[in-house]
Amino acid sequence: MEAVLEQSPPTLAGLVAAAKRGDRDAFRELVEPDLAAALGTARIVTRSEADASDAVQDALLSAWRGLDSLRDPDAFRAWFRRHVVRAALKGAERRGRVVELDLAAAAPEGELDRALDARTLARAFDRLEARDRLLLTLHHFWDLPIAETAAHLGIPEGTVKSRVHYAMDRLRAAFAAEERR
């Protein structure tokens, strides 16, 4: 009779250890759940599909190379996000790039009011500085706790709250200005 060995799913620690040994499949398994959010965030912050893809690729490479600096495997997700944040900001600040606002994508058929709001919001949002865009993305899209947002941005927790507040004020002002156009 054949013995059936039941394999338990790999743990986070096991995957991180395997990735540190150079196992790309393990690394892929680690990053794959966060790739969609990473790419979406990078697109919002860089305002460019191509730059977003480059930024996530940069984040993957820097995380892969820097795995040895990750001491706590349980912190992998937050640690990888930090690479994404850094790469996205770098992409946004890249010199000489100009971007096209992808307004068509924000206008689904049959939802005219929402589409108009979305179009206005897109213009308003893209008027914000890259750091404001990132901050609002971390706060309202990733729904990160204040503490983790603070860690990503390297600022005190209290500063996160006030910056989110001011960024929202700026966004509202930009939205109102766009509505008056």
């Binding site: 540190k20 150079g22 990053v31 969609a36 599909e49 690729q57 010199r95 000489g96 100009v98 689904p108």
Partner: protein, 436 residues
């Protein structure tokens, strides 16, 4: 209003962040093409040290505490075999448990061979042997490598991805070697062992960055603010494919058609400074530097000259007879004085979006198009007209260019009035429009 607006923002962020499945799959499959990982554990020498220390510790536990132990007071074995680096680690406030890596350098000046991404550190450009300790966590000495003032603590900080704190001891005797602490060093490409430590003349890192190369913006004589283009040394302006045989060649290539920086003069540069490995050139107007390009032949890309710094005044301050690297038109005021491009500028539309038939005119926060082919119709509510009627609400802006004067109908279009016609330049509904 607040909740509704936040809900709208959240929905929009979700829509905007929504991903094309194929893009995600492409990224995921790129993981398979990542380069092999080079483990950044202890180097072979340091690993050997771990074993030696374990043996020494075992021996220490087995012999009488006050007996004759075969080692020196600092723990270095007396048998002349491989050192344990105990002194070096202790000087750096590290231990084998807290150091991520540790390795000797034959010469301190080799630091960029071992740590290619480390910024230039002139204090290491000496022949003395050196020893590097890479901390696993933050360096233990607090801010500035020193203890905080009494009653105070250093502010918390964090390391960037791929960065580590380093300790580099310079000197043959670890006990007296000069201690250098470096915070948040990019350790990309770090290697404990390097092929050769004897530098070739063409690859030697600069012994000292000349003082004149440190702050080129400070050497400009601008009437207005320094333009937000370029950067100071060691800003990167190109890869290995942009290396040249001489500083002059590198400058000529930099100012050529592929120059990524709009609005710097294509010619008319005078050499400001030159010494071994370094040169700088300035675009002078009435003897005043308005743009400075710094070059060096000691970049991390290997032998060859390359631009390493660029700072410039606004394009309106350059010699008007010299073409710019990108054809920005400088407007004048009614007295004929050239106006800053921060206030008004016009330029051809980006060709890669098929907008090169258009002239873009930016006036403060507004954008107007001279668009005879109506290719920008999506962003305008009126169209270009070659012979328009100047509306009574239009106001003379006072700006002039090529025999035309610019009139603005507030909130609406711009009009360029010349001797024989009035052109209407429609206003863009989006002043931030750009081309990907």
């Amino acid at each position: 209003m607040s909740d509704d607006f936040e809900d709208l923002l959240k929905r929009w962020l979700r829509d905007r962040a929504g991903n094309d499945r194929s893009a995600l799959q492409a990224l995921a499959s790129n993981v398979a093409a990542l380069p092999p990982r080079r483990r950044r554990g202890l180097s072979p020498l340091a690993s050997a040290a771990v074993i030696l220390v374990a043996i020494a510790l075992g021996a220490f536990l087995l012999v009488p505490r006050f007996g004759s132990v075969g080692g020196s007071r600092d723990g270095t074995p007396m048998n002349g075999e491989a050192p344990t680096w105990n002194v070096e680690l202790a000087r750096c406030g590290a231990s084998l448990a807290t150091a991520l890596d540790a390795f000797p350098m034959e010469h301190a000046r080799d630091y960029r061979l071992h740590l290619p991404a480390m910024l230039l550190s002139p204090e290491l450009d000496v022949d003395d042997p050196a020893f590097v300790v890479v901390y696993g966590e933050m360096q233990p000495f607090g801010g500035g490598g020193a203890a905080p003032p009494p009653g105070q603590t250093w502010a918390p900080r964090s390391l960037d991805p791929g960065h580590h704190d380093l300790c580099i001891l310079v000197g043959a005797d670890a006990a007296t070697a000069e201690l250098n602490i470096y915070a948040n060093v990019d350790t990309t490409g770090m290697q404990a062992a390097v092929a050769s430590t004897e530098p070739a003349a063409s690859r030697v890192p600069p012994n000292l960055i000349p003082m004149w190369a440190v702050n080129i913006a400070g050497q400009l004589e601008c009437d207005g603010p320094v333009a937000r283009i370029g950067g100071e040394f060691p800003e990167s302006f190109g890869g290995p494919d942009t290396l040249n045989n001489s500083a002059d060649d590198a400058l000529a290539v930099f100012l050529g058609p592929s120059n990524p920086f709009a609005s710097i003069p294509t010619a008319g540069y005078t050499q400001l400074h030159a010494e071994t490995h370094w040169a700088s050139f300035a675009h002078l107007v009435d003897g005043r530097p308005k743009a400075i390009v710094l070059l060096t032949d000691t970049t991390e890309h290997g032998p060859g000259w390359q631009v390493a710094g660029l700072r410039a005044c606004d394009a309106s301050e350059f010699d008007p007879t010299v073409p710019l690297t990108f054809p920005v038109t400088i407007w004048t005021d009614q007295s004929g004085n050239r106006v800053s491009t921060g206030t008004i500028r016009s330029m051809p539309g980006p060709g890669h979006c098929g907008w090169d038939s258009v002239t873009w005119l930016g006036v403060e926060d507004n954008l107007y198009f001279r668009d005879p082919q109506d290719v920008m119709a999506e962003w305008t509510t009126t169209s270009f007209a070659l012979n328009a009627q100047l509306p009574p609400s239009a106001i003379d802006s006072g700006y002039r260019s090529g025999g035309g004067s610019l009139w603005i109908d507030p909130g609406r279009d711009a009009y360029v009035v010349s001797a024989d016609r009035v052109e209407r330049w429609p206003r863009s509904s989006d002043p931030l429009i750009a081309c990907m």
